[in-house]
């Protein structure tokens, strides 16, 4: 046992002083005053008559003195705030969680955050009576909402308009910050954590966890992604995962919107702890700002406690246009297939008419049976029937009337497109270099080779389109689409995952950053850090989705309860001492004042 309010020596001195005072008062009380009476014989007889039954009258004052000393000792001890274990006096840091789960509704309509704030106030008021306090908000980022102070009233202003962040609280960071504050204060200290999660880290300062919340039911969107359709240029597909974190069956309607346009609606029925995936595609938009929301949630015999996990945000990858330079003496297949692609800006030039300075504005150069030295320096190039040795692709032999027998469809330049069976009437097998990928071959002859080296990407096709039936196959435009995107450094299958709330948002020079509600955000050193809310953020023409759906979790708190059992096993020692005090005062009153025993 120790004392939190006073050092041990001060407690002992106070107890000694209290005992001395009690003894002095006892002696004063025991000093009789003279009273003249008519006859003392009646008093003597009365004293004999009222003799106590089980305690001699002479012992009662001594007993009462001992009881009074005990009362004084306990009183001083209680004022010193006794604690089981190591009590502390000095700096107290209260850390409260403001993560998304703290927004869960508890009984009577209150939220866990409201409970946590109430507990924070209570702890801070207690702590401010015997030392300095500081309050840290453990949201997405730790934040000191009340610096070290001895003024408990400042807390009200600090906690006004408090809300939860759209993400998991960074309790570890907050505790590390609290630990640093305690160390820097140069005083004894302790950390009180008010949270609905178990503590993830240990601290040097003594740590006490006050749990808030009870196990609650919720269903949540646990994933929302959007990706461009690799086949349908300009379209995108949406994939949403919904998970039930309850033992009850649940019904809800999943509504997917692109800004204000409803893309899809689906009635869901979830079993206990069930999981559903909803996929939809065919949505056309150059810039998809996708929001998925669970509406009309009905839980059998319960309610969805957390609204924050019923909505998720995603952004479809922007439809990027690729500038392509086609250098050809005339190739109708290539010209048509490139012109038909909706996301290409194609420039056609003759082999001798390409100005050197204009190359940099093209992302990909397509060379059809030509290989000017100046163009071969371009970092992304697609070569059809290159001359022997051009761009490092030497001929390994001639190929005639050969069919492609193997395709490396998993390569990014093909993206799943298979060229098997395509006939090459006339061409050359290419000799690759170590590190090259053979995309298509006939037996041991490499007909299509991809090379990625030193920031350059090259795809070389060892035959001309006119000498093959490749252009007649449905795989041709797909191959061109995949190859051009690979060469341009793009990926058709990439899914741009939403960012976690709190992730900094880089803002380029001169660009305007807007928040989820369209409010202007002010970048500091080119970065916006106030991204604690989920939603769509805009930087210039770009859209960034901030979403906490992957962090959705169960709202049960059994793990914290088990960790806290030892702390809650006994009532506070001061309460026990106060109860004993009350009992002793009653005994003392019986002994001295009520007089039944005397």
């Amino acid at each position: 046992m120790s004392f939190a309010a006073l050092p041990l020596w001060a407690v002992l001195v106070a107890i000694g002083a209290a005992i001395a005072t009690v003894v002095a008062l006892y002696l004063l009380r025991r000093t009789p005053r003279r009273e003249l009476v008519s006859n003392v014989t009646f008093w003597l007889r009365a004293a004999q008559r009222s003799k106590p039954k089980f305690l001699r009258a002479t012992r009662i004052p001594i007993l009462a003195l001992l009881v009074s000393i005990l009362i004084a000792t306990l009183l001083v001890g209680d004022l010193a705030d006794p604690r089981f274990g190591a009590g502390l006096r000095g700096t107290t840091i209260v850390v409260y969680s403001a993560g998304r789960t703290m927004g869960a509704r508890e009984g009577l309509g209150g939220t866990r955050l409201a409970q946590a704030l109430g507990e924070t106030r209570r702890q801070a008021e207690r702590a401010s009576a015997r030392g300095r306090i500081a309050v840290i908000r453990a949201g997405l980022r730790p934040e000191v909402v009340l610096p070290l102070t001895e003024d408990g009233a400042a807390l009200d202003a600090a906690l006004r308009d408090e809300h939860t962040d759209d993400g998991a609280s960074d309790l570890a960071g907050a505790l590390a910050l609290a630990d640093r504050i305690v160390r820097a204060s140069g005083d004894l200290g302790r950390i009180i954590v008010v949270a609905d999660h178990p503590l993830p880290v240990a601290t040097e300062a003594p740590l006490e966890l006050i749990p808030v919340g009870t196990p609650r039911d919720t269903i949540a969107i646990t994933q929302l992604t959007a990706r461009r359709d690799p086949v349908a240029v300009g379209e995108y597909a949406v994939r949403a995962e919904v998970t039930s974190f309850t033992s009850r069956t649940a019904r809800a309607k999943l509504v997917v919107r692109d800004r204000d346009v409803v893309l899809s609606e689906r009635e869901l029925r979830l079993d206990a702890y069930g999981h559903l995936v909803h996929e939809a595609q065919g949505f056309s938009s150059g810039r998809g700002e996708i929001t998925a929301k669970l509406e009309d949630i009905v839980l059998a015999g319960g309610e969805d406690a957390l609204a924050g996990d019923d909505i998720a945000y995603a952004a479809a990858p922007p439809l990027r246009r690729t500038s392509v330079l086609l250098v050809t003496s005339g190739n109708a297949f290539l010209q048509r297939v490139l012109a038909a692609h909706g996301a290409l800006d194609v420039t056609i030039a003759a082999p001798g008419a390409v100005p050197d300075g204009a190359l940099s504005r093209f992302e990909v150069v397509v060379l059809d049976r030509a290989a000017p030295e100046s163009l071969l320096r371009h970092p992304a190039k697609l070569l059809f029937a290159p001359p022997d040795g051009a761009a490092g692709f030497a001929y390994a032999g001639d190929v005639r009337n050969a069919r492609i027998t193997a395709t490396l469809a998993g390569h990014g330049a093909l993206d799943g497109v298979r060229l098997d069976g395509a006939l090459v009437r006339s061409g050359h097998a290419l000799r690759g270099e170590p590190g090259d990928s053979v995309l298509a071959r006939r037996g041991g002859d490499a007909l299509v080779v991809a090379r990625e080296r030193a920031g350059e990407r090259t795809v070389a096709v060892g035959f001309a389109l006119a000498d093959s039936d490749l252009a007649e196959r449905i795989a041709f435009p797909l191959m061109m689409h995949a190859a051009l995107h690979w060469l341009a450094g793009q990926s058709n299958t990439d899914v741009v995952l939403a960012r976690s709330p709190g992730t900094p948002l880089a803002v380029g020079r001169g660009a305007t950053a807007l928040g989820p509600d369209g409010e202007a955000l002010t970048p500091v050193a080119g970065v916006v850090v106030e991204t604690t809310r989920a939603g769509h953020y805009h930087v210039g023409e770009e859209v960034f989705a901030y979403d906490a759906a992957p962090q959705s979790e169960t709202l049960t708190i059994e793990s914290t309860g088990r960790a806290l059992d030892p702390l809650r096993a006994l009532p506070p020692l001061s309460a026990i001492v106060a109860a004993v005090l009350l009992l002793l005062v009653l005994v003392e009153w019986l002994l001295l004042h009520r007089g039944r025993l005397g």
Binding site: P32, E35, S38, R49
Partner: protein, 296 residues
């Protein structure tokens, strides 16, 4: 008078002491006696016996019945009033002091007694009896008694049995014996009162009570000092002890009153807080079986 105010005197002027016939003396006075002898009021006839005064023979009766009978008359005799006033140390307690009230009581009885020219003798006592105060018979002697009584000293221990024995030896003639005391001595009262009754006195016991004796209010540690003996007793006052003390006093007083009743007497309680007027009414009402107030 120093001890009685005008209101008390006016009240006393309208009353007289009524004494049982058996308590009268042998001298002629104003109170009926059980003896049939010379007097004013005819009582009865009886047979003449040799030696009777022939002047008391009823000759008219002899003429009618031819028998010698003599006439008998009720004899009015004198009454001696003894007022024993406790002046021990315990009588100094109370507010006003019990002894002051006791003196007023003695003066009131004396004043009432002198109305019928009874011989009134006030006898202050503590451990012994003070017989220096003159007996009085008339109202004219009252101022002297009043002064003497007012100046009478106070102190000493109460030794009532010894006082009663001395009283019996000194004053053998029976009469109205009025004992005025606080009864705050634990022993001897029953014997003394029985002795007084046995001597043929008509007994009146007046207890002068005060709150200090009957309902003390003390708390904590005290050292009690006996006002008569000076004995000290350290005690811790508790409600239980005080209750036991009150019960002790209550029972003691009840025993004294019972002893008085057994001795043929009556007892009265006079509280020190009473006014003189109320005091006289209570005293004479109790003293008489008593005290009859008669309209003039």
């Amino acid at each position: 008078m120093r001890l009685l105010d005008r209101a008390a005197l006016r009240l006393l002027d309208r009353v007289r002491l009524v004494v049982r016939a058996t308590a009268t003396s042998s001298d002629q006075g104003g109170h009926r006696s059980p003896a049939l002898a010379q007097g004013q009021e005819f009582a009865d006839h009886r047979q003449y016996v040799p030696g009777d005064d022939v002047r008391r023979v009823d000759w008219k009766a002899f003429a009618r019945h031819r028998q010698l009978v003599v006439r008998q008359f009720i004899e009015d005799r004198d009454v001696r009033v003894y007022i024993l006033v406790d002046t021990s140390g315990s009588m100094t307690r109370g507010a006003p002091a019990k002894v002051e009230v006791a003196k007023r009581i003695a003066a009131a009885f004396s004043y009432a007694g002198t109305k019928d020219f009874d011989r009134v003798r006030v006898l202050p006592f503590s451990s012994d009896m003070d017989v220096t105060l003159r007996a009085v018979r008339s109202r004219g002697e009252m101022p002297g008694l009043d002064a003497q009584l007012a100046d009478a000293g106070v102190g000493g221990e109460t030794k009532f049995p010894e006082v009663v024995r001395d009283f019996a030896r000194r004053y053998p003639q029976r009469g109205l014996a009025i004992v005025v005391s606080d009864l705050m001595a634990p022993d001897g009262w029953e014997d003394g009162l029985r002795l007084l009754g046995g001597l043929g006195h008509q007994l009146v016991l007046v207890r002068v009570a005060c709150a200090e004796d009957d309902a003390p209010d003390m708390r904590g540690e005290v050292e009690l000092v006996d006002s008569e003996s000076g004995q000290t007793v350290p005690l811790r006052m508790t409600p239980a002890l005080i209750e036991a003390y009150r019960a002790e006093v209550r029972e003691h007083v009840a025993r004294c009153r019972e002893a008085c009743r057994r001795a043929g007497g009556r007892s009265v309680v006079a509280d020190v807080s009473m006014s003189s007027d109320a005091l006289v009414r209570v005293l004479l009402g109790g003293a008489d079986a008593g005290a009859q107030e008669r309209a003039r």
